[in-house]
Amino acid sequence: MTALADAPRSPDTAGTPDPGPVEGLRARRRRRLAVVLTTLAVLLVAVATLALTLGEASLAPGRALAALFGAGDAGDVFVVHRLRLPRIETAVLAGAAFALAGALFQTTLRNPLASPDILGIASGASLGAVWALLVAGLTGLAVSGAAFAGAVTVALLIWLFAWRKGLHSIRFVLVGVGFAYLCSSLLAWLLARADVREAQSALLWTVGSVADVRGAELVTLAVAVAVLGTGVAVASRWQAPLALGDDNARALGVPVDAARVVSLLLAVGLVAVATSFVGPLAFVALVAPAIARRLVDDGGAALTVSVLTGALLVLAADVVGQHLLFGIQAPTGIVTGMIGAPYLLWLLATDGRKSLA
């Protein structure tokens, strides 16, 4: 992947007869984008196949794929369709949603570190869900609803308090950090109040896991992500101009304030939906777009690459957490945090050399 990012840019077009500098650049970008997208897609399929084969009943890839299309014996079909496929689908959908939301936050606020984890939106969702589980005694979809409400409420409060003649990026981040602390403090309090068993299962919720989403919930998640994703696709033509700064974007005919509000609303929606079903998967929204930006340096197209990167990260984290972590079954959110945070620290440590935005 680093090889891709660092690949020399000039010599490819040397043979073509005078394509002009702009066309040459575009062609190179398109080619690189195609290579990156293909690589990510192939990796995604490979990891998904691996996830189909691994488990208590190990299936050979051939048998697993056969069962996927309904062939093979009934046991295999049950294992694949009922146990493993929903988990893979959830991981891909949630990873895509978090990554897309993170990319929107980061380009819209022009801050590579803006993410729902740092802004307190994730802690808001956790607080809502833990409140529903421990205080209100709710279960199932109602918990998801409470998480959704928590995320949206915190996002709106940050918005309200950070708004002062426009939405300043640093101000938004700082107010978000304040809310993150407030929410996690209340969360610790709720956990200390409750019965220790209930508190521990609630703690599990605050980490995030793609294990138990299936049936109607999975369909709801898929539809919501698809609708919001379509919205992002429509709004995405504003992303590249917005990344150039307000004045430049305005000069290019982008309605800056409206574009920012729409983008942030879509991002909050994506985070709220994904979090309400799988919990806050730590740092996916932060890391996936950061990786994507290093693979291709184009504001608009980075959204697609972010989506694939996020899906791949969560799926891989789930496989690692389930099978490869020294015999410990770790929830997905723990592994994404362990992969994501060190990577971000490395980005920050090397920040002096390169601009991240």
Binding site: G178, S185, A188, A282, L348
Partner: protein
């Protein structure tokens, strides 16, 4: 010549004197507020005890008197812990903001609390430590390690430092959770520590820890003048004859002492270290020789005040000091973020 200069010195001299008098008054006033809060902390609670009975309990306790037992066994320890931890947190925040020249720094934001928490979890779960006294050393080491990591990556860049701290917290939190999910007994010990409270530690912890707080306070007092110079920039401080590296090192040592002790005494309490220095700066200006002592008083005012408020808001129950302190501190962070200075950071 002398005739024209002499009158000019007079008003300037009185101006300085008046400002000093104002600051001394302010310091005395906040000490009086602290005394009031300490009295409130001794008297108020689920069981209200009048001042005369408290005085009697302190001077001539009667064995078997329930009110006296409550005062001596519960109210006095939590009040003293609130005073020590509050002063330590207020000073730690002041030193962090001073040495980083960063208005948004505090021990929680910089990942020190997370480092201390991880160390405590390791102590409880893997090493089987259960006595609060045993946590102390782990809290220190954890806070120091986190401080070293965060400062080495983010030193000198205010916003980045805060985000490095948040990232370290986000790296450590899943590790803590992983241990806690696998060890219900450790989770049960940890969750009461993590919420941040002045109760349940007992006098024993404080008896062992007070020297660290005293050393930290003395260090902070000795460093105040150097921090004032440092706030003018490294170059100016150097030109004034200061060894900047030594100041940074000593300050970092004091920060770890103070923040580590506070976390060991009261758990990871959010935002006290952030809010107190801002309040102090707003009251006495930018001179650290005044900010430091005022922070040492306002810290316990906020923490002990939060504890007292927490006893009053719920009928027949209590909100822990950590929760109330976060609720008081969050608006301060919002106010700082909305202020003009941050936009330029």
């Amino acid at each position: 010549m002398t005739a024209t200069v002499a009158p000019a010195v007079g008003p300037a001299g009185t101006l300085v004197a008046r400002r000093t008098r104002g600051r001394v008054l302010l310091l005395l006033l906040s000490l009086a507020v602290l005394a009031l809060i300490a009295v409130a902390s001794l008297t108020l609670g689920v069981r209200d005890i009048d001042v005369a009975t408290v005085w009697q309990a302190l001077t001539a306790p009667v064995a078997g008197n329930v009110d006296h037992d409550v005062v001596l066994d519960q109210r006095v320890p939590r009040t003293l812990i609130g005073l020590a931890a509050g002063a330590a947190l207020g000073l730690a925040g002041t030193l962090i903001q001073g040495v980083t020249r960063n208005p948004i720094a505090d021990p929680g934001l910089l990942g020190l609390n997370a480092g201390a928490s991880l160390a405590v979890v390791i102590a409880v779960s893997l090493l089987g430590v259960t006595a609060p006294l045993g946590f102390v050393w782990f809290a220190f080491v954890g806070a120091a390690a986190a401080a070293a990591l965060v400062f080495s990556i983010g030193a000198g860049q205010p916003v980045k430092l805060a985000l490095v701290g948040a990232t370290v917290t986000a790296l450590i939190t899943p590790l803590i959770t992983l241990v806690l999910l696998r060890d219900p007994a450790a989770f049960n010990t940890y969750r009461f520590w993590a919420v941040g409270s002045l109760t349940g530690r007992g006098m024993e912890t404080l008896e062992r820890l007070w020297p660290f707080v005293v050393v930290g306070i003395v260090l902070a007092g000795a460093l105040a003048h150097r921090l004032s110079m440092l706030s003018l920039g490294d170059d100016v401080a150097r030109a004034l004859g200061q060894r900047v590296g030594l100041t940074r090192g000593l300050t970092a040592g004091a920060i770890v002492l103070l923040a580590g002790t506070a976390t060991a005494l009261a758990g990871p309490i959010a935002l006290v270290g952030l809010a107190v220095p801002h309040a102090a700066r707003r009251l006495v200006g930018t001179d650290y020789r005044w900010i430091v002592p005022l922070s040492a008083v306002l810290g316990p005012v906020m923490l002990l005040g939060a504890d007292v408020i927490g006893r009053l808001v719920l009928p027949h129950s209590e909100l822990e000091a950590g929760v109330v302190a976060a609720a008081l501190g969050a608006p301060v962070l919002v106010a700082v973020a909305r202020g003009k200075s941050v936009a330029g950071v």
